[in-house]
């Protein structure tokens, strides 16, 4: 009886999606899972973990893991290492997939099949999806699906993910209870075969790996010359290491290039498969992509296009973001007013309005900018232009020891360091990525702009200076930050994070129309991460800052200025004064520096409270006047032109943004780097301010 009842699967089957970068894997994943996605991080590394859910044709749930794009299981980047470890069942936090869906770009089959070929070695059920069949047909490439299925022994599904074609067939294949195991065999070159079996036996018996996993690992150990890198967190047993070393020594004596031989024989096998399954008609018309590249990477036009794209990016950030930013500003003010209206006066009300709403509001205001930046970066990535920008800028970036891929993250940091730092994930080399993260906040972000504007206005009261001087000072600040960023990148690459010279092996994918849906998905994911991470930290810091400025309470009837003066923040400012006096700042400015931790622009509103000046965003003249009237106790003017200038220098270099600290903590997975960043940037700011201020005084300013 019970035998006739079909038992439901014991657990939801887990599928892994794998493929080269740019093969359309994310589009397929999004199309299949829709909004049923969970985005997180693989613990211990900063690689995005995406798990989605879809349904089989019978309505059973299927779990899908979207693994990061990779070219090979011989991993070279954290992304690729995650792919390898999940497929080999090394990650405790991720179930080893029951079945694997490999996605390959049909226009570029040979190279895409390299990873597929490695994955077939694992002996698990695999479905091969050939994506971009339409583009392949246009390029004169015809893939005979039946032949490919016969050669590989697995289901092959032609697909156009962007147009939604082939999805039903894929779902049907994923619903099959009886996926065939790959009938895939390739001839491991004769001189290497005994080493593979010996290593595999040892990995199976001593290291306790499953037989097929052991064989795949043996092949990886022989492909990559760095055994430690291959082993990842799972260290090899002594016996396995000994066997590996013995073979390597022997081959070295024989002058045998074992790694190369293995890779070549794999490609030979792929060549045989593809010559049986692919018919190529030569099309001699240059493709659209080639023609676009002739302009975009042209020695002259290339720069103009790059400049144009970047100008457009910044124009749209500052113009499109303005209306929503004002709207958010108005809404938070309205919310604050509403709370003031409905709640009785008291500390709790002030905590909510001034602490929580005010603080979080000042950060959420930046959300439109961040969204636009993420959208633009997604667009550049999706169309293929990002790779061209890296190609053009690589030479310049190599001067400081980085590669072209650091360019876009650094550039985005002019708007806001947060999306810039989050965009560094495209940099494969861990050290290059870290250096880029460390210097990104030196690029003058838009939160510094209100501070610069106020200081320039205070430095050059109206009528005395031409607009040109003002613009000149502004440009100088941006230039200082940029030079600082490159200087420190150069320094870090030579000292702290010395490593192999960065390689610039990068695919230039053909230009494609952007997959707007994927770009929007990605943008929302990123923005959500920002809100979750930065938002919580900011809420905490805002409340702390509010508390520091609201307590201890001044006697009744005290003005806000008096209250701030005798609050903890005011006292902290006084404690800070001995440190900042040498650079010309008093305790009142000290309060401003402390409050800048919520966001640098908060400096302006803090100064408004400190000097008891009513001002608005459009018109800072009352505040300016109040600042110019401010005096040291001995009657000297506080905001001399030299102090204003020094203050700007300090803001260029100091690390003051709590949101950035939170994001760096997340992206580097430790407190060490954000703390180091605070230390090196702020001490540089202090030293440079000291030089400028004391030097300026000596020169009689």
């Amino acid at each position: 009886m019970s035998e006739s009842v079909k038992t439901a699967p014991a657990r939801t089957p887990v599928y892994a999606f794998c493929g080269n970068p740019n093969c359309g894997k994310s589009t397929l994943f999004n199309a299949l899972t829709g909004l049923k996605q969970k985005v997180g991080n693989y613990p211990g590394v900063t690689v995005e973990k995406k798990i989605g859910e879809t349904y089989s044709q019978h309505g059973h749930a299927i779990k899908v893991i979207d693994l990061p794009g990779a070219y090979s299981l011989a991993a070279r980047s954290p992304d690729e290492a995650v792919l390898r470890d999940v497929l080999l069942g090394r990650r405790a936090d991720t179930p080893q997939p029951d079945r694997i869906v490999c996605i390959a770009d049909a226009t570029n089959l040979e190279r895409n099949l390299y990873l597929v070929h490695q994955i077939l070695d694992l002996g698990r059920p695999v479905i091969l999806v050939l994506n971009m069949m339409d583009l392949a047909a246009k390029a004169g490439i015809e893939v005979r699906i039946d032949r490919l299925e016969k050669e590989l022994g697995i289901p092959v599904i032609p697909c156009e993910a962007v147009n939604g074609k082939g999805l039903i067939q894929l779902r049907l294949a994923m619903s099959r209870a009886d996926l065939p195991l790959p009938r895939h065999s390739w001839d491991i070159p004769a001189p290497i075969a005994p080493a593979v079996s010996e290593l595999a036996a040892s990995l199976h018996e001593i290291d306790g790996k499953a037989p097929l996993i052991a064989r795949a690992e043996a092949l990886l150990l022989l492909t990559d010359q760095d055994a430690v890198r291959v082993a990842g967190s799972t260290t090899l047993s002594d016996q396995t290491t000994r066997i590996l070393k013995q073979w390597q020594k022997r081959w070295e004596k024989e002058d045998m290039d074992w790694a190369g031989t293995l890779v070549n024989s794999r490609y030979d096998s792929i060549g045989r498969i593809s010559s049986a399954a692919v018919i190529r008609r030569d099309i001699h018309v240059p493709s659209v992509s080639d023609r676009i590249d002739e302009v975009v990477t042209h020695p002259l036009w290339g720069w103009l296009v790059l400049g144009g794209v970047m100008t457009l990016l910044f124009l749209s950030i500052f113009s499109f973001a303005e209306a929503p930013m004002n709207w958010i500003g108005d809404r938070t003010a309205a919310l604050s007013d509403w709370v003031k209206h409905v709640m009785p006066e008291g500390d709790l009300r002030n905590l909510i309005t001034d602490g929580a709403i005010g603080g979080v509001g000042s950060v959420v205001t930046f959300l439109p900018q961040i969204l636009i930046l993420f959208f633009f970066m997604g667009l550049l990535e999706s169309t293929g232009y990002m790779a061209r920008a890296a190609f053009i800028m690589d030479r310049l970036m190599s001067r400081v020891g980085l590669n072209g891929k650091s360019f876009i993250p650094l550039l985005s940091s002019y708007a806001c360091a947060i999306p810039g730092i989050m965009a560094t994930r495209t940099i494969e080399n861990a050290k290059d990525r870290l250096v880029t993260i460390l210097v990104a906040p030196l690029m003058s972000c838009s939160a510094r702009l209100p501070v610069y504007i106020l200081m320039i206005a205070a430095l050059l009261p109206n009528g005395r200076a031409s607009i040109l001087t003002k613009v000149g000072i502004m440009v100088l600040m941006y230039a200082l930050g940029t030079v600082g960023a490159f200087g420190f990148a150069w320094l870090f690459k030579r000292t702290l994070l010395k490593g192999e010279p960065p390689i610039m092996i990068m695919e230039l994918p053909p230009y494609r129309l952007p997959a707007v849906r994927d770009v929007v998905f990605h943008m929302i994911e990123r923005a959500w991460i920002f809100l979750k991470r930065a938002g919580t930290v900011i809420l905490g810091i805002s409340i702390l800052l509010w508390f520091l400025s609201a307590y201890p309470k001044a006697p009744h009837n005290a003005t806000p200025t008096q209250q701030l003066e005798q609050s903890f923040a005011g006292r902290a400012g006084r404690v800070l004064e001995p440190v900042i006096k040498p650079i010309g700042f008093d305790w009142e400015i000290g309060i401003g520096l402390i409050s800048s931790f919520a966001a640098r622009e908060v400096f302006v509103s803090t100064m408004g409270v400190v000097f008891n000046a009513e001002h608005s965003e459009e018109d800072t003249s009352p505040l300016r006047k109040a600042m110019l009237d401010a005096k040291w106790p001995d009657g000297r003017a506080l905001f001399t032109p030299l102090v204003c200038f020094t203050l700007m220098i300090f803001y260029v270099f100091a690390m003051q943004c709590a949101s950035t600290v939170a994001v760096v903590r997340r992206e580097t997975n430790s407190w060490r780097w954000p703390l180091f960043q605070i230390a090196y940037m702020t001490s540089t700011a202090w030293v440079l301010s000291l030089i400028v201020y004391q030097g300026g005084r000596l020169l009689g300013f």
Partner: protein, 76 residues
């Protein structure tokens, strides 16, 4: 006969790869990206500042630094 290097190939010209260096992390990756001896590659262009280079291999476009290209021997 001295070996011709990939970096010496004129722009637009094609050639077969003769030999890849055995050592070096970047060469393993280049092999895995399909640069095997006997494969025809075409030098498409150099970046506006002269480095890196863009080549076409197995039907797709790839960039590599000049310093790496100098160590790849091609058949003349």
């Amino acid at each position: 006969m001295t070996a011709v290097k990939l970096s010496e190939l004129p722009i637009g010209a094609s050639a077969k790869i003769r030999e890849m260096p055995k050592q070096g992390a970047s060469f393993l990756r280049l092999r895995e990206m399909g640069l095997s001896p006997g494969v025809t590659i075409q030098l498409i262009r150099a970046a506006p500042l002269g480095d890196p280079l863009e080549i076409k291999v197995r039907g797709y476009h790839l960039t590599l630094r000049k310093a790496d290209a100098e160590q790849i021997a091609i058949e003349s």
